[in-house]
Symmetry: C2
Subunit: 428 residues, 2 copies
């Protein structure tokens, strides 16, 4: 396939992305969570999605407890064959040896389909599970993240592609000249290596990032294969896309070596009216407590439960955590349109500030194509509003429309995630 | 089944337990390691084994890199239905929140089949991957391990059995009174909780330990569900069994609430001669470099490569790490029988000091029965010499013999690992 192809991720939360998804008539009871994820991953794979994608938090931040991404993705590796498996692991409260090893192991188990979403942790409830009384400041988090990434990549390069010989005749298991210690000594880590997992068919797991700050964008420009990002409209996405791609080139990499995939919250109907009804059903199910908690988290981890729901948003101090830009956006939105707290949380109850499309497959495909062809996106991380129906609608109605237009594959191009994303094999 | 039943684990190393297993004609190339493990786990499950069991090290200690146990077990959870899934995670270089969460997640994915083998790390190559210049001293390791276990168990008790409601009608996801923070503050850890994985069908993952020191035995007596141990003969196993069971009672627990499972290295033949031939085939394949490395590791992490192979073992300083008792045993063995280094490593090339049986299914079943009925073992962790044949031989030849004698199940008793091991559901 010579023409540039769209990339699609399935960003899965247990009940779906809408804050009321768990109350949807289709919502799963949670008794056998793996059965649901297996069904979802297989649905996404049948539709040729590039990846499933799992966010993460090392604290109980919302709803009931879910599954941990690395264990979940490993189980999904055993029941899928083609789809990429991207999970989040924080650099703030982990050790690089463990992270390098677990993703390398997932990469080998899956035959080269693993991806690591590198994040930093910015909230106090995570800090409190790791012996800290407050979250780590932004600058320190990014300095640690950069060194963390360097160590992980160094460990992934422990074994050259042809280091393992298993020569039974000569009694030689591996070529010692092709196995490399790391001996890293830096400000945050001291790691000898080598890694005890040998090299995967795709060389290294794919690295995903989502930082929107200056430090985050620069780290991504230098080190990420994929960037996940949130934009409510074309202009915002274009500004981000052009900015980040120019940073990639400035870092000495081809612009196309980093794929930019904004989030997309789609509500699909066979008619516009049906799509609106599906959305309204969810809006009507929002529990005020859940809406308030979501808004509080998104605006910088504030507890808003003491404020009257139908009054305007109070003045809030500027947050130090990673959600500063989102805090500003929401504050401006509330002030600009004179929204009450309730009206504001209903605005974000679905897409949480991500690109939101409510309509027919044609309408949604039109907008995807517009972004894809106008320097706003290399693909999208699809955020189904509820599950399994929200993913099935996209897979069965929108994907065929994208395929008809020649924008999206009808079968997987390659064997590994890098093959399918069109990323080069890392040098070694 | 009213009579006491034997428990069996399948202790899997990539090529098998014999140090020359990787050179066996059947040995896997390592290109698709998961395909092999899937086949092995399914073989063990067909034979009604209680568990598969994976050891671990957070450094490259031998051979080529393998897979990480938590990712591997999660993938195996998706392709098995009954067998328990036990993996090792060290308390020395991990955070309790991560360990509690990953095993809880595996437990939910597998429908209540997870087990955590709690170990401490005693070697310098592991230390060097986590910013330490030398390994942690024995006493400090156990103090940390004890507190680590306390935190993990506290986190596993975050959610009461009926805390999750998912009451769509009333809009209530969980009963806040049945969700508990931990707020642990101790010498080594400060962890707020609650865990972000809700409770599994078996309450908590099974806890396995293998410490042979005073500190290790006391911790096991107070906290372990299963103990894995190494004994070359009946008398040694009986002494350990009686000692540990009395400690269990002293700790206020029923003796039967802790299952003792010594390792068993079986070489099975239809005749005694066939079994001996199978063993000799492996002995003849031992590469001196591999034999020396194994001996060096087992005797306390010494590099023996400079010593002449056919001379006696040199005097070695007493090791501070967890292998003191093994070091003494091997030194006495070498001196008592006047063994050369080569002869000594050939003695341990198979069972590494574990109970070793080379013979017919009847002979092996006789010995298992003898240990099981004479206060030496509640079951065995079976260590196949090579793979897949060594496991298949045990499953197809020895297990039916044990079943015929009424010692071992013909189908799984329950749904969870605790059910099958005959362990009570932890209170909560």
């Amino acid at each position: 396939m010579a023409t540039r192809q769209l990339k699609l991720g399935a960003f899965l939360l247990h009940n779906g992305h809408h804050v009321a998804a768990w109350r949807h008539p289709q919502a799963d009871s949670g008794r056998d969570p793996f059965a649901l994820y297996k069904k979802l991953a297989q649905t996404a794979e049948r539709a040729c999605f590039d990846t499933v994608f799992f966010a993460d938090s090392v604290a109980l931040t919302s709803g009931v407890g879910g599954l941990e991404p690395l264990t979940l993705l490993s189980a999904l590796a055993a029941v899928t064959e083609h789809i990429g498996l991207i999970g989040t692991a924080t650099t703030t409260y982990n050790e690089p040896y463990h992270v390098a090893r677990k993703f390398a192991s997932l990469d080998r188990i899956s035959g080269g389909r693993a991806g690591w979403n590198l994040v930093t942790s910015d909230n106090a409830s995570e800090a409190a599970n790791f012996g800290r009384s407050d979250h780590v400041a932004h600058g320190e988090r990014y300095a640690r993240a950069r060194e963390f990434h360097q160590v992980v990549q160094g460990l992934w390069n422990s074994w050259e592609d042809d280091a393992v010989l298993n020569d039974k005749e000569k009694g030689i298991q591996f070529d010692a000249d092709k196995l490399h210690a790391l001996n890293h000594k830096g400000d945050h880590f001291s790691v000898a290596g080598p890694l005890n997992v040998s090299r995967s068919p795709q060389g290294q797991p794919v690295v995903v990032q989502a930082g929107g700050s200056e430090a985050g964008k620069n780290l991504a420009a230098e080190t990420a294969d994929v960037v996940f990002t949130a934009h409510p409209n074309l202009a915002s996405a274009q500004a981000f896309y052009r900015d980040l791609k120019s940073r990639v080139v400035h870092a000495g990499r081809p612009a196309d070596s980093l794929k930019i995939m904004p989030g997309l919250f789609p509500v699909v109907g066979r008619t516009q009216e049906e799509a609106q009804e599906k959305f309204q059903l969810l809006q009507d199910l929002v529990v005020p407590k859940d809406g308030l908690a979501l808004l509080g988290r998104m605006i910088g981890n504030f507890d808003l439960s003491a404020y009257p729901l139908d009054e305007p948003l109070p003045e809030l101090p500027l947050t130090d955590n990673g959600q500063q830009s989102r805090q500003k956006l929401l504050t401006q939105l509330a002030q600009g349109e004179n929204l009450s707290i309730r009206e504001l949380y209903l605005r974000i109850a679905g897409g949480r500030g991500h690109f939101t499309l409510i309509g027919t497959p044609e309408l949604i495909a039109d907008q995807i194509q517009l972004w894809f062809e106008n320097e706003a996106a290399d693909g999208f991380n699809v955020m189904p509003p509820y599950l399994p129906g929200g993913l099935e609608d996209f897979a069965e109605l929108v994907v065929p429309e994208l395929q008809k237009r020649g924008l999206f594959r009808r079968s997987y191009e390659g064997r590994t995630l890098r093959d399918n994303l069109g990323l080069a094999l890392p040098k070694k």
